[in-house]
């Protein structure tokens, strides 16, 4: 029996078979996703105590482009509500959702652990502690227009992820159980330190508390500069490493034998994800579960290839958090529900589901 006999020279495959085999259908998916994202953003900007038609929202936005004036006939109050109040909120919610989702996917990939998420492994709480320390300090926390809050949050986030990783590591692996336990412990320490700081600075307790609970009610355009300068480079780095993250899903030894400088890649990607998480936390406080459920939803829908998982997680994370924030400000109108409550309400059951099912089947 000639089992592996001398193989005939491979003939070239037709283009369609090539793409199909590799499952490379990212672009149509991404276009669809971005379309949905745009639609959801317009919808969210249209809904509120003052109902404004979606087409009016679109005209107000387009009129911001130089040389376009489609909104002259619309009431000035509409223009103010859409441009100054609702849109910054929608845009920042979208950015934060995208950031938390791709950071979560990155943590899951680097730890090779399906339950890693910025919230569960203590990164968000660490970032919260760093940010609170700056907010309650008597120092002026902006230097040359840039706020120190994201940087302090970054320091806190890095400390937390470093501790979680070091504590959870058993030999060469990071088992789920120890990672979650370490994350819970670090989160508790960081949260109690944060509370301690707040209690000792009564005058700012309301500001910090509102911020920590998580939400977008303080959003304004200037807050974009708290997120974008950190989120964009971090996202660029992580997206570049999509293919390498796939190789890392084997195990560290195999990845190294395939030519990946594992330690350097891990350090770079954990740094990028933590920087992005810190920026997200510094504008919107601690919002849980987005980083956990979005990458898993993408995995269930379209498979585990990080080259499509990362961009699709960003889009879906944006859509999810814009919708969650829309709920947060409408379900109990005129008062607001912290958006973290909405995401936890959707996310916690999903977390339990993931704990129960065989994780490896989708991961």
């Amino acid at each position: 029996m000639k089992l592996f006999g001398s193989a005939a020279r491979a003939e070239p495959l037709p283009e369609a078979a090539f793409s199909a085999l590799l499952g490379r259908a990212l672009w149509p998916r991404l276009a669809l996703g971005l379309g949905v994202l745009l639609g959801v953003a317009l919808l969210a900007a249209a809904i509120g105590p003052v109902a404004i038609p979606a087409d009016a929202v679109a005209r107000i936005v387009l009129s911001r482009l130089p040389g376009v004036s489609l909104a002259d006939s619309l009431p000035q109050s509409w223009q103010d509500i859409v441009w100054e109040i609702r849109l910054p909120r929608v845009v920042i919610a979208g950015l934060v959702g995208a950031t938390l989702a791709f950071s979560g996917a990155t943590y899951q990939a680097v730890f090779r652990n399906p339950l890693a998420d910025p919230y569960l492994i203590g990164v968000a709480a660490g970032a919260g502690l760093g940010a609170t320390a700056v907010i309650v300090s008597p120092l002026d926390y902006t230097v040359g227009g840039l706020s120190l809050v994201p940087l302090a949050a970054f320091a806190g986030a890095l400390t937390a992820v470093g501790l979680a990783y070091a504590l959870a590591r058993v030999g060469r692996t990071v088992p789920t159980v120890t990672l979650i336990l370490a994350g819970v412990a670090i989160s508790s320490i960081a949260t109690s330190a944060t509370s301690f700081l707040m209690i000792n600075h009564n005058e700012r307790v309301l500001t910090t508390l509102t911020w920590l609970l998580g939400g977008f009610n303080l959003s304004e355009w200037s807050k974009l500069w708290w997120v974008l300068p950190y989120m964009l480079p971090a996202a660029a780095v992580v997206l570049l490493y999509g293919r390498i993250l796939n190789v890392l899903q084997l195990d560290e030894e195999q990845a190294q034998q395939l030519g990946v400088n594992v330690e350097r890649v891990k350090l770079l990607l954990l740094g990028a994800a933590s920087l992005a998480t810190a920026a997200a936390v510094s504008v919107s406080g601690i919002i849980g579960f987005v980083g956990l459920i979005i990458p898993h939803a993408v995995r269930l829908l379209w498979g585990p290839d990080y080259r499509q998982l990362l961009p699709m997680s960003m889009v879906l994370g944006g859509v999810f958090l814009i919708l969650a924030d829309l709920l947060a400000r409408t379900v109990n109108s005129p008062s607001e529900v912290p958006v973290g409550i909405i995401t936890a309400f959707c996310g916690a059951p999903f977390f339990l589901y993931l704990l129960r099912v065989r994780q490896r089947a989708v991961f």
């Binding site: 084997l250 190294q256 034998q257």
Partner: protein, 274 residues
């Protein structure tokens, strides 16, 4: 092609390899044999720099391995690990394409040329027909052959196999080693294979190195290395070695305790060729 001199490796206090020296030429199939824990896997891990040696050096075609980047190293030597973890959700094609990693820059993704290489590797291991299946759906033997294909796709002059057929049935064991030998002969690859099964090693390898407790205790043609005396002293059990009726290469089997006294009395435990 591969030159190792006085290699010493330790894990903390435990010395895994002591002053091991060996060489491997292009087109040669070198078997590394020895009991569990004798240092076979450590040798492969040291060549691919998963462990840093305490002493000695490794040269690949005259270049010191320690000075190559991880990527350059992976273009020199491909590994088939003993029991690799493979994520269940990835397809066979995706896993095999990972073999192209050392040839791709950060901004590149796999192109048609890479796919052609991978397709050939999958055809050589009889797994092309499984290309779109997920790893979780494969049998142990199929998975192992995909890993062999991935190593072939790396396109390296040197192939390091760590018990490549430990989970395969006899037919597939033979098929893998037939392929490996073909790669040596036709493409001039140098192959170092850690092999548990002494008879298999005896049938296929050009040369054997026997390790025991991290030391080389025998080296040479299979007939020389696989002597009953050496095997008995290393494995702590009596074995019988006889030439294969067709190839004349050594076949090794352990003897049951019951059979031993009588055989000893008759003195029928012979060395090969005696």
């Amino acid at each position: 092609m591969l030159e190792i001199r006085d290699l010493t490796v330790a894990y903390g206090e435990l010395v895994a390899l002591r002053q091991v020296s060996l060489s491997l030429g292009a087109g040669e199939l070198l078997g590394v044999v020895g009991p569990n824990g004798s240092g076979k896997s450590t040798l492969i891990r040291a060549i691919t720099r998963l462990v840093r040696p305490l002493g000695g050096d490794i040269h690949l075609d005259g270049k010191e391995a320690g000075r190559l980047s991880q990527r350059e190293l992976a273009r020199w030597a491909a590994v088939v690990p003993q029991n690799p973890y493979l994520p269940a959700a990835f397809t066979v094609l995706e896993v095999a394409l990972m073999g192209r990693t050392p040839h791709l820059g950060l901004l590149q993704s796999e192109g048609r040329a890479d796919l052609a290489v991978v397709r050939r590797a999958l055809e050589q291991t009889d797994t092309w027909r499984l290309a779109s299946r997920r790893m979780g759906e494969l049998s142990g033997g199929e998975r192992q052959r995909v890993v062999v294909a991935r190593a072939l796709a790396q396109g390296t002059p040197l192939l390091l196999l760590d018990e490549p057929t430990a989970h395969l049935d006899m037919g597939h064991q033979a098929a893998v080693f037939d392929l490996v030998r073909q790669l040596c002969r036709r493409e001039g690859k140098g192959v170092l294979a850690a092999i548990h099964d002494l008879s298999l090693a005896g049938q296929y390898c050009d040369r054997l190195v026997m390790l025991n407790e991290g030391r080389i205790v025998g080296e040479g043609e299979p007939q020389e290395v696989l002597s009953p005396q050496l095997l008995a002293s290393i494995y702590g059990t009596r074995v019988s070695v006889f030439p294969h009726p067709l190839t004349g290469r050594p076949v090794v089997t352990p003897m049951s305790e019951a059979a031993r006294p009588g055989l000893e009395a008759k003195g029928s435990v012979g060395t090969l060729g005696s």
